[in-house]
Amino acid sequence: MGLNILKKVPNVNFIGYRKVAFLISAALLVLGIGSLVVKGGPSYGIDFAGGINVQLKFQNEIELPDLRDALETIGHEGMTVQRFGMEGDNEYLMRLVQSDIETDVLRQEIDAVLAEAMAEAGHEIQRVEMVGPKVGADLRQKALEAMFYAVLLIAIYISGRFEQRWWAAGIMAASLSGAMYLLGLIGIDTGFLTIIALLVALGLCWRLKLNYALGAVVALVHDVFITVGIFSLLNKEFDLTIVAALLTIIGYSLNDTIIVFDRIRENLRNRISKDFGEVINRSINQTLSRTVLTSGTTLLVVASLFIFGGGVIHDFALALLIGIGVGTYSSIFVASPILLVFQPQEEEPNAPAPAEA
């Protein structure tokens, strides 16, 4: 026999904690969204905002103010210089807001200035990234579209798989795509469009009584917003790799939610209890050891990425750390209680049997 974290199936009343959980979630959301509102939206990295990044590495220890002073003599407006990566790497990131500077000229300027002002530091330009404003806007739009379609497809899949209601899912997809298309014609900003679309999707889920989809989608929107909010609170920048991280979080959050939902469905079929809340509680408890183990091992791996993975991957790993943590929490405390709140009225355990295993 191996080890057991939980000797027997625990019996925690998770559903009973739902009000506390809702308060915690609400507080995190308000804090995060509040920070976004105060700062006027997420602080976009150059992927989305456009601009130039230059990563510099020095052989010897240098002082940040010296570097800043030296680079300022080049005279580009809106320049920031910050430490990059770990302490002792001697790596710095120079960031320019404008992108209409020719990078080959910029390289020469930097080389000239640093060779003169900080000759003994031994600098090397490790990485140059330039994103023009047009490309930045395109990437931003594509990222939002990606998030939207991911959520939509997932909602359809869940409705189809869990409630055997592909037609309802189809109606939702068709009306949403139609609405997106019409609103797009008017020329609304993609950011607003996506938020509107998400709200409409949630509304449709509720209206069409696609409760599993509703629970899962609310949970993952919850996770994404909290991660984005915490990123904003920590003054971290948003770039393409963070979008990759967010989509991974969506995948992970769903993974977790579906495993609990699957158990709920199975227990409903086996009629382990008449009380829906009790069924949910039992299901969460039965899958709890798995949840703890999986989240634990995944978090271990991501943490090693965060600690040892190097500067380039640092923020990506941080987003995953936050997201997987929140995702695990939300599958227990957000997705399942929502199922209870929007409990199907007429639909009882003997509803159309889902596909047998």
């Binding site: 990078t103 390289r107 594509k142």
Partner: protein, 534 residues
């Protein structure tokens, strides 16, 4: 051993063998050995973030190409009409992309319209207005279909030219792709170290013109904007010994007497002062034109203009036959060489702008890969140890299939010729987490069934069948997210999506299919009452 079990073992071995075929060529030692010839020509490419190099997004200025084409059409129309005895005035391309000109004699209208209909079928007459003095003003616009055709053609030509330039520049495995929908070109130059030069070479339009110098013009007046008709003010570059340039104003005839389209070859040479210069060779038509030109303009100065900048303006000493000319301009060796490259590869049909650039120095690439692999190893080892400690023998099984899983992901990446990037490594690490999840789901279920009093064999059966559906549901949703990522993502994000998808497919195969084999073998050999090490 039952036949069914034997079949499953066979399938597993077969898949592993195929995986081996695709993984092996990624090791240089194997690829170069005699075994390498029998293996598929596949390997995992390293992304720019891992081996250094450059990624560029170039925007082709289609509007400029259309404008150029229109003004050329204007000149053609003037020439053709003149041959028919019709004179038109001031063909100009306006801001709103129409070609406007004035027909002074209204009675020539019929002839002109016939010419328009026959030779300029790609244009349509937007408006004709009769002016007070009886002249007719025409405004022509390009048909949308032709505009589209022209835009596509321009993109294709630009890609061809850029490919030529890169080939001559000498990059090992360049990847050049066109994005037809927004007229952009993606260029990947892995392992490239001379990034400044690459930008210089790729971005240059290389529109070469020969223009006569207007010696009579007054430079001072020209500076104030007073120019003789048909001439323009330009700047001539003179290179100083320290590498900087001095610009001097010069007045040129506006119309080029010859352009770079007739060039067949360009190379570098040294003159008697050991100064590098660029030698160009014209094709037969260009050679004839150049010969006639030089005979007509002896003792006059002819400016050599590249992308609007005058590089030199030598005096024509005598008629030059044989179709060879030289561009001198006090270049450095490197500049002369690069100029020869762009002239040989031809001019870009339209200017290109660098919309996006990502370049990584080779040292950072090595550092990143070391750190990435390091992090993956540390994370992986912790998980592997944990699984054995927590699940005993079942943990060993899980670790074995986990190793097979990663192996298959690598084989898949090689098979698709995918590019491994830093986010890709992150994808593999995440796959590890997900694969562990599949095993944990099954094992926890088996434990649960054992607690419920089932025999090991029944518990294993129940555990696998119950957990399979859950794993399927959970993984399908992740694959949906991965597909969307692939669809909308670019570069490294796509790499991540591919890795994630492969990882999930591999983890379903290994966790559900392969690990079951171990359990079936194990349970079959044990007495029914013995416990399971899980």
């Amino acid at each position: 051993m039952s036949g069914n079990l034997r079949l499953r073992i066979g399938i597993t071995l077969f898949v592993t063998f195929i995986g081996l075929l695709y993984v092996l060529p990624s090791f240089t030692a194997v690829r170069d050995s005699s075994l390498g010839r029998f293996l598929p020509d596949a390997k995992v490419n390293l992304g720019l973030d891992l081996q250094g190099g450059m990624h560029l997004t170039l925007g082709v200025d289609i509007d400029k190409a259309i404008e150029n084409n229109m003004s050329q059409a204007g000149r053609d129309l003037r020439d053709i009409a003149r041959d028919e005895g019709v004179f038109i005035l001031r063909p100009t391309v306006t801001q709103d992309n129409t070609l406007q000109f004035v027909l002074p004699k209204a009675d020539a209208r019929e002839t002109l319209e016939k010419i328009l209909a026959e030779d300029f079928e790609h244009f349509q007459v937007e408006s004709r207005s009769t002016l007070d003095d009886g002249q007719i003003r025409y405004a022509l616009s390009m048909t949308p279909a032709y505009k589209k055709y022209l835009a596509d053609l321009t993109l294709d030509q630009a890609v061809k030219t850029i490919r030529n330039r890169i080939d001559q520049f000498g990059v090992a495995e360049p990847d050049i792709r066109k994005q037809r929908e927004d007229y952009r070109i993606q260029v990947q130059l892995p392992g490239l170290a001379e990034q400044e030069r690459a930008i210089e070479i790729l971005g240059r339009t290389a529109h070469l013109e020969f223009k006569m110098v207007n010696e009579e013009a007054d430079i001072e007046k020209a500076r104030q904007g007073i120019l003789p008709p048909g001439s323009e003010l330009s700047t001539m570059l003179n290179r100083n010994p320290d590498g900087s340039y001095t610009e001097t104003p010069i007045v040129l005839e506006r119309d080029a007497v010859l352009t770079g389209e007739y060039i067949t070859n360009a190379s570098t040479s040294f003159d008697s002062y050991n100064q590098p210069y660029v030698m160009i060779t014209f094709n037969s038509r260009g050679a004839r034109l150049f010969e006639r030109l030089t005979s007509e303009h002896v003792k006059e100065r002819m400016a050599i203009v590249l992308d609007g900048k005058v590089y030199s303006a030598p005096v024509i000493q005598e008629r030059i036959s044989g179709g060879r000319a030289s561009i001198t301009g006090s270049f450095t060796m490197e500049e002369a060489h690069d100029l020869a490259i762009v002239l040989r590869a031809g001019a870009l049909p339209a200017p290109v702008n660098i919309l996006q650039e990502r370049s990584v120095g080779p040292s950072l690439g090595q550092e990143s890969i070391d750190q990435g692999i390091n992090a993956a190893l540390i994370g992986g080892v912790i998980v592997i140890i944990f699984m054995v400690v927590y699940y005993g023998f079942a943990g060993v099984v899980a670790d074995t299939v986990l190793a097979l899983n990663i192996f298959l992901v690598m084989a898949g990446l090689a098979g698709f010729g995918a590019t491994l990037t830093l986010p890709g490594i992150a994808g593999i690490i995440l796959t590890l987490g997900m694969a562990v999840d599949a095993n944990v789901l099954i094992y926890e279920r088996i434990r649960e069934e054992l607690r419920n009093g089932l025999t090991p064999r029944a518990a294993v059966d129940m555990g696998y069948s119950r957990a399979t559906l859950t794993i399927l549901d959970a993984n399908v949703t992740t694959i949906i997210a991965a597909i969307i990522l692939y669809q909308f993502g670019t570069g490294p994000i796509r790499g991540f999506a591919v890795t994630l998808t492969l990882g999930i497919l591999a983890s379903m195969f290994t966790a559900i299919f392969v690990s079951r084999i171990f359990f079936d073998l194990w349970v079959a050999k044990r007495p029914a009452k013995a416990g399971l090490s899980i």
